[in-house]
């Protein structure tokens, strides 16, 4: 697993994709930070991260589209699947690599919180940590979904487009819930929405149920990815 993680992580930076992803992410983060916080004298780190979750939705498909599709196209899966490693460790190694790149990019934004303090603003630590934990959990679940979608196709573009559609749907689940008449249905839809689980984190409230939601999304889609690969060997 470590070998796959290392190779995949490096792979992001031997191709333009890693740079494009990190570059755009940091550009957007900087823009939001400047416009939303610096220029308007606001120390609300929650609003900054809420904007960043949108950026995440737009960038994750690019980030995950080639994870498994490209390998299958180039028949590289033949090397991985005939090596003495389990499919789970292949999939999880890739997941971790994608996650690490994103976490590294998010790590740069720690600078912004330092700037907050340097400028005399004092956002609460609970809120800062809540936002980072929530953001990373959300990013993890998006990457797991993207990874799963990239296991379904050999075409990177298809993987990206389908991921966009999926994320767009997740994005509007909150709106769908608010338009649903039946309160129980609305509750279910609301529960499925990744944004609704982010709300508490954004305020610095650590709710186990929210963390469980994101972690089970990750587990579910990693598991499904393993199943897809496993299934393909048998068909």
């Amino acid at each position: 697993m470590l070998a796959i993680f290392k190779r995949e992580f490096k792979g992001y930076f031997t191709s333009p994709i890693g740079f494009i992803f990190v570059g755009i992410f940091l550009f957007m983060a900087g823009l939001y930070f400047y416009v939303g916080n610096l220029a308007t004298n606001s120390a609300d780190i929650g609003s900054l991260f809420r904007q960043l979750t949108f950026v995440l939705m737009f960038l994750t498909p690019i980030h995950t589209m080639r994870l498994l599709s490209e390998e299958r196209r180039a028949k590289l899966d033949q090397l991985l699947l005939t090596s003495p490693v389990s499919i789970l460790s292949i999939v999880f190694g890739k997941f971790l690599a994608a996650f690490a790149v994103l976490a590294a990019a998010a790590g740069v934004t720690v600078l912004y919180t330092i700037i907050f303090f340097a400028l005399g603003a004092h956002p609460s630590f609970a809120q800062i940590i809540g936002n980072y934990v929530g953001f990373l959990l959300m990013a993890g679940s998006f990457i797991a979904i993207g990874l799963f979608i990239s296991s379904l196709t050999v075409n990177q573009v298809v993987a990206a487009v389908v991921s966009y559609a999926t994320f767009f749907f997740l994005l509007i689940t909150g709106w769908l819930a608010s338009k649903t008449q039946d309160p129980n249905t609305a509750k279910v839809i609301e529960y499925l929405s990744p944004n609704s689980h982010y709300r508490n984190f954004s305020l610095g409230i650590f709710n186990v149920a929210d963390a469980v939601y994101y972690l089970s999304m990750i587990a579910l889609f990693v598991f499904l990815t393993v199943r897809v690969i496993e299934k393909r060997r048998w068909s």
Binding site: L2, A3, I4, K6, R7, G11, T14, S15, A74, K75, L76, D77, Q78, L79, L80, L81, T82, S83, P84, V85, S86, R233, W234, S235
Partner: protein, 353 residues
């Protein structure tokens, strides 16, 4: 070392591999022959655990590939048809990655230096794989399979894309490896099999058509001797003369290769060496022989015989294509012999004059 039992792989209704069974003892080099779509690659993919069989078992060193995949895969080095290379890595990085991926024990640097030398790619180890030629990529693929010195090597057409000199080199490498490793290799090229394999399996439509040593196979197949002779002269007259030679069973014209010279396929009765009588008969009639060579049995010939139930006559254009492909691929011993024969023939002609 390798045991395959009643292996079946079905894609929908079509059986790519149909009830295949064979064993490979430790230290043997087994050749896997068959036309495209015969099921060679499928069998290899099952054996290495890339795909699962519909039914039947494949066992490597006592480990079932489906039941104990990790243990079984540790014993295997696999070079697929298309070498699985990360184009954005250097050769050395790639081999390091494979070393770690395969959880190989021992000294990493030593293991990598070793395979670099075996595959003779030490001079490109710092280069990015994307920029390598096909032949080098093939060799990097081979190096990858050799990492950790696995007990079983599965090589899917290892010499494809190499130039003749590299082919001979790689064959020698494989031969050397065969002393310590058990090897299965697939190929289209019969001379390759006779050059390195101890045993051959011919497979067609997913079924085994024959298993034997290459010598036995060739012997079994070439029950009558056929010659290809290029002769100058009037076609009818030549045919007439040829048919009158004792021991000749059948003659037919192949094609015109040079102005006023035709190639003829002469089939002799069993155990008849007709070359000398043929020479004298034609010399008497004033029809010079430009060259004469044994019609070698190509894989396709053997294949036709094994599968098409003894129908020996190949269509001439197919034959030609095959012969051409062969000479393009490599100068085989047979063609070298033939060249010598022509040379000798020429000298004889000269002394006649």
């Amino acid at each position: 070392m390798i045991e395959i039992k009643n292996l079946v792989k079905r894609y929908g209704n079509k059986a790519a591999v149909d009830n295949l069974s064979f064993t490979v003892p430790k230290g043997e080099i087994l050749g896997f022959l068959g036309p495209n779509g015969a099921g060679k690659t499928t069998t290899m993919n099952i054996l290495t655990g890339y795909i699962a069989s519909t039914s039947g078992t494949a066992t490597i060193a006592g480990y079932d590939i489906l039941e104990q995949p990790i243990e079984a895969k540790k014993k295997i080095g696999y070079l697929p048809e298309q070498p699985p290379l990360y184009m954005d890595m250097t050769v050395q990085e790639y081999l390091q990655f494979v070393f770690e991926l395969k959880k190989t024990s021992g000294n990493k640097r030593k293991a990598i230096d070793n395979v670099l030398e075996l595959a003779r790619i030490g001079d490109v180890k710092g280069r990015i794989i994307k920029n390598l030629s096909k032949g080098y990529r093939q060799r990097v693929g081979l190096a990858q399979a050799l990492i950790g010195s696995p007990e079983v090597l599965v090589l899917d057409e290892p010499t494809v894309g190499l130039d003749p000199k590299q082919i001979i080199e790689i064959r020698n490498v494989i031969k050397d490896l065969g002393k310590e490793h058990t090897i299965i290799l697939s190929t289209h090229i019969l001379p390759e099999v006779s050059a390195i394999c101890e045993r051959v399996i011919i497979i067609n439509k997913g079924k085994i058509a024959a298993i034997d040593t290459p010598d036995n196979l060739a012997k079994r197949m070439s029950h009558d001797s056929r010659l290809s002779v290029r002769i100058v002269g009037d076609q009818q007259q030549v045919l007439q003369t040829l048919r009158n030679v004792e021991g000749v069973k059948h003659v037919h014209t192949d094609s015109m290769k040079e102005p006023s010279a035709y190639d003829y396929i002469v089939e002799a009765e069993k155990d008849f060496d007709i070359r000398q009588p043929l020479f004298f008969a034609l010399a008497q009639g004033g029809m010079p022989i430009l060259h004469m060579k044994n019609f070698d049995m190509s894989l396709e010939d053997i294949f036709m015989q094994l599968t098409a139930d003894g129908s020996k006559a190949l269509r001439p254009e197919k034959k030609k294509a095959i012969a051409q492909e062969k000479t393009e691929l490599e100068p085989t011993e047979d063609t070298i012999d033939a060249e010598q024969a022509t040379k000798n023939g020429g000298e004889e002609d000269a002394s006649d004059l």
